[in-house]
Assembly symmetry: D3
Homo-oligomer: 124 residues x 6
Amino acid sequence: MSNHQRGLDLLARIEPDVEGRVARLAELHPDAARYVVEFGFGEILSRPGLTLQQRELITVAALAAMGTAPAQLKVHVAACLRLGVSRTEVTEAILQMAFYAGFPAALNGLSLAKEVFAQIEAPD
Amino acid sequence: MSNHQRGLDLLARIEPDVEGRVARLAELHPDAARYVVEFGFGEILSRPGLTLQQRELITVAALAAMGTAPAQLKVHVAACLRLGVSRTEVTEAILQMAFYAGFPAALNGLSLAKEVFAQIEAPD
Amino acid sequence: MSNHQRGLDLLARIEPDVEGRVARLAELHPDAARYVVEFGFGEILSRPGLTLQQRELITVAALAAMGTAPAQLKVHVAACLRLGVSRTEVTEAILQMAFYAGFPAALNGLSLAKEVFAQIEAPD
Amino acid sequence: MSNHQRGLDLLARIEPDVEGRVARLAELHPDAARYVVEFGFGEILSRPGLTLQQRELITVAALAAMGTAPAQLKVHVAACLRLGVSRTEVTEAILQMAFYAGFPAALNGLSLAKEVFAQIEAPD
Amino acid sequence: MSNHQRGLDLLARIEPDVEGRVARLAELHPDAARYVVEFGFGEILSRPGLTLQQRELITVAALAAMGTAPAQLKVHVAACLRLGVSRTEVTEAILQMAFYAGFPAALNGLSLAKEVFAQIEAPD
Amino acid sequence: MSNHQRGLDLLARIEPDVEGRVARLAELHPDAARYVVEFGFGEILSRPGLTLQQRELITVAALAAMGTAPAQLKVHVAACLRLGVSRTEVTEAILQMAFYAGFPAALNGLSLAKEVFAQIEAPD
């Protein structure tokens, strides 16, 4: 299977509207969209060794710690929920960043997660 | 159980020489040592909702992404191995950060992990 | 006195609506609110060795330099003013960050401070 | 020529409304405005060794990588276009940051650049 | 031409010992080495729109501004020199970061560049 | 008085070997040295509104929080001690950053401060 197809298949597991999301990325830059699909999802995120649930959860933690990617943090919180990662797991991963990256990073991350929780049905 | 005792008990799961580590922290600052034990381990890391293995793995990812805490990254890579998280899982978590925080962050993280792998017996 | 009570007492010195602020934090996450009160205010900020005015001013400088916590920067600028730190002192602390963290960090910090200055009565 | 005059002259090459921009900076802080003009433009950016086009392009790349200065990134994307740097060159500089600072930094930078492209006439 | 071959060809322009560098990356992680070659050099850095000289110079600026990748900054300073970018251009790009990311970032970057200048013959 | 002379005079208050420090900066880059003296010390740090003690303490806090400038953090810890800022005040400023920038930042800062404390006579 090509990286492109593998990436799209993986994206379909966390994104109800794959075509829309790829189209929005392609409007930004067609090759950026291609890299996200082929390299990001088709290579990095589809590697064996960690489950996609684990991968999305560490991404949520890392983006919360970095504090420079609020839009992407919301995307990955949503991905977690769609994969069956519970709200509690998401919340705990972000809250833990208070210890490693400071309380502003954790509180801002919790606030962004809460916005996503209000939009997506998921168990606690 | 007090936060202090809970923190020490948790620390004992990932650190073969708890007394030594707490003593080194206390030399830096006695209250810093107390906060790490009571707040970090006794509160944050001992929360329910995620396993300690999950917590250590997201910490590794976040510290690799931040790129400002090489000593701590090594400590948490060692903690992962002692908890039975495999070398592959640690490596995958760090490598994934290439996509979210750039290749320098991921390569520097892999290099630090490799130093730890050389010191601690663990399955791949 | 418990850390919780000490934290609330300290918070009352910089926040006219302690209950409201704690309630908003608790809506985000009850334990995050507890940690901010007990650990942040009850432990860290109530330590001897620096006055609360000094502590709030170094927080303003650090948050301006980091550039990832605009909401918290505003909270701590307001805290400074309520403690009798002058607008000039706040402004100087932020402006100084131009030398250490670059002009974008300083200019964005000054812009956030100006928003707070428009809302809170304080001497220059 | 004074640093002040040299700075204003340089600013005039990238900013159609120099007076307005300096006035807005001066409202924030008169000395911040003076430092931007005298030190930033009058010293740093007017140094020999790199063209102003080169200087604006590396600034765009660096601000995209840092991810903490969206307003300034837009200002410097606009400066590039006004100096005859093409949209493609700007876009390539930002997209390249995906490799060094991660995809969120690059995608957020491309999104901000696109907002500027919609406002300023420039060749691709 | 495959991304892999294109990446190796590009790497050969800035690295006298391509095999050695790829081998060292592969020791860290075989797939990390492959991604650097195929994605980093074979896709990102071999894109049209900017010269390789321009691409290396913006990388130097961005890594200096970020301040978290000293080893990589040295690699890209060396790459600049091997491509005929002058020491002055490298120095100016780093020095400019004082304005955007603060003096510590610029001074640390200049110090790393100086180490490289001592090892590689290049015109000023 | 020129910015240059004002900068040198201020530097003399925190640096026993002004000539040596300026010479080391000038070896890195003559104009970087001039900017540090004229802009950093002659303009920013010699502004009224905060004492030099206050200015050095907020710099220590900000550099500890940023985590990317260990050499400069040590310089400014030393500056604090030479100005009569106590070890306790320095330590408290850094320890406080645990709350705002995370424990790794605070612990690394404390470790660097301790190195300076071992070299400079100062009251606790």
